[in-house]
């Protein structure tokens, strides 16, 4: 599995940019196909063609599972096709973050067991991985999204063990966000808007999280059963 590779430099030499662009093109083609199929659907069910997240705690953990899949895939790609000027310290921290996301993803897959949604199809077309600002901006958006999701689902979870597990992951995502933000602009580890908002971090509900996550994947998920336990 490519994600296991720890040497970003070795990967760059092995995987040509052309091959990556080919991969991206295939994804774009799949998107067009999915789009044309979607246009045939009936109008009365807004969730037709979307995947049910499930209800209660499983549905909420599935959102974490989806965001984590996105992040693991994103960092794997960043390490496969490093942005120009990535230094050794940055490569080390991004490798750490990729490993954390894989660990999280696989743990959630086991915890969810039969209730886990299928693997998603990330869509990173339009992101120029060669550009440092593009790569770090996307990483920042995904990490901030992840933090806001963990903060948003905490009081919806029923199981106390999941409340703790969710918090264990939330603070590591916040550490990631701070690290990525500092790589991008040193000192931007937290947002000025957070200072103004009682020093509180971002929070989003599942619908808000999914609507932002949609930009990075082909899949569409249906959160309408989450409120059922």
């Amino acid at each position: 599995m490519i994600e296991q590779t720890t040497s970003a430099a070795a990967d760059t030499q092995n995987v040509s940019r052309r091959r990556f662009l080919g991969y991206a093109g295939a994804l774009a083609g799949a998107g067009l196909l999915a789009g044309s199929l979607a246009s045939c659907k009936k109008k009365d069910d807004p969730w037709e063609g979307s995947v049910d997240l499930g209800s209660g705690d499983n549905g909420l953990l599935n959102i974490v599972f989806i965001i984590t899949q996105l992040q693991a895939a994103f960092y794997a790609q960043v390490l496969l096709t490093p942005y120009i000027g990535m230094n050794a310290q940055e490569a080390k921290l991004i490798t750490d973050m990729r490993n954390h996301e894989i660990a999280k993803r696989e743990l959630l897959r086991k915890v969810l067991s039969g209730a886990a949604v299928a693997d998603i199809s990330p869509d990173f077309t339009g992101i120029d991985f060669a550009k440092r600002t593009a790569a770090l901006d996307t990483a920042k958006q995904l990490e901030d999204l992840s933090v806001s999701n963990h903060n948003g689902i905490a009081n919806m979870l029923g199981s106390a063990a999941y409340v703790v597990l969710n918090a264990k992951m939330a603070s590591v995502e916040a550490r990631h966000s701070a690290a990525i933000r500092d790589m991008s602009v040193m000192g931007s580890f937290a947002d000025a808007s957070m200072t103004a908002d009682n020093g509180l971090d971002f929070i989003r509900d599942p619908q808000g999280v999914l609507s932002l996550a949609n930009a990075y994947m082909k899949d569409r998920f249906n959160p309408s059963n989450l409120s059922k336990s």
Binding site: D96, N99, I102, N155, M186, A192, M194
Partner: protein, 291 residues
Amino acid sequence: MNFSSILSEIERIDPEIYERTSPRRTLIKNWTRKASLVALPFAIGSLFNKAYGKTNNAVSDTLQAALIFELLEVSLYGKAIQATKVNPPAAQLIPSTTGMEYQAIEMIWNQEQAHVNFLASILRQMGVTPNLQQNFDLTGGSGSGSGQFAQVLTDYGTFLAVAQMLEDTGVRAYKGQMASLQEDHDILASAMRIHSMEARHAAHIRMMRSQTPGPLADGQDIRPWITLKQSGINSGATQSAYDGEENTSQMNIEVVNIAGFDIPDVSASQAFDEPLDMTAALSVINPFLAP
């Protein structure tokens, strides 16, 4: 009898129930429409637990303890800013008053002050007087002024090491209270949002420390996340803040090399932060409290 009529029955007998469970009234009303039959026993159980089981004292005690952590951090950063502003350049604690290090400490200080104000306002809403009168000994000397970190306001590396330990411990302390706040939806959400801010602070202080060798540097490679139970601080006084962080098993599932992926123990421990219970968290900061 359906759930709606059970609720109206309780409301008739005990008109205060919505106030006692407030601010979850809207949520309760929503449940009566949305909840499946299977969910009802659990929903009713947790509602009663909140209203009649757990007292508000437990929650306000938690918030008072959180307030001590926030006040300690406010004191540390406020004194550090002072020890930078009032001194001539050669004696400034933080390298300069115009650099990004100073701006970062100022931003963290502002956010910790916001946390103090926010926690105090929640306590007042609960009818509890926030305890804002706490004396601190930033050297960790319990009031002697000559603790393990006697140079905390004169040596930049020592200051950052103390800041790192307090931020990391703050993250662990909040995390340790999340399950007990579960029935208080608004407070849990706010605690989570403060908790992840503390993690952002910890990560940035760690970035600053990785670039700042000092007497407390122990040669460890300091990263924004916690590796095993390494403090990265050359002082035995800080180890209890990190004990337990080496855990690599979550929900009774081993994370090292999970599902055949190459995940070493270092990564497995970093990927999840570990909670500290209130007693352990308070014992970490106890040397910093003064009579």
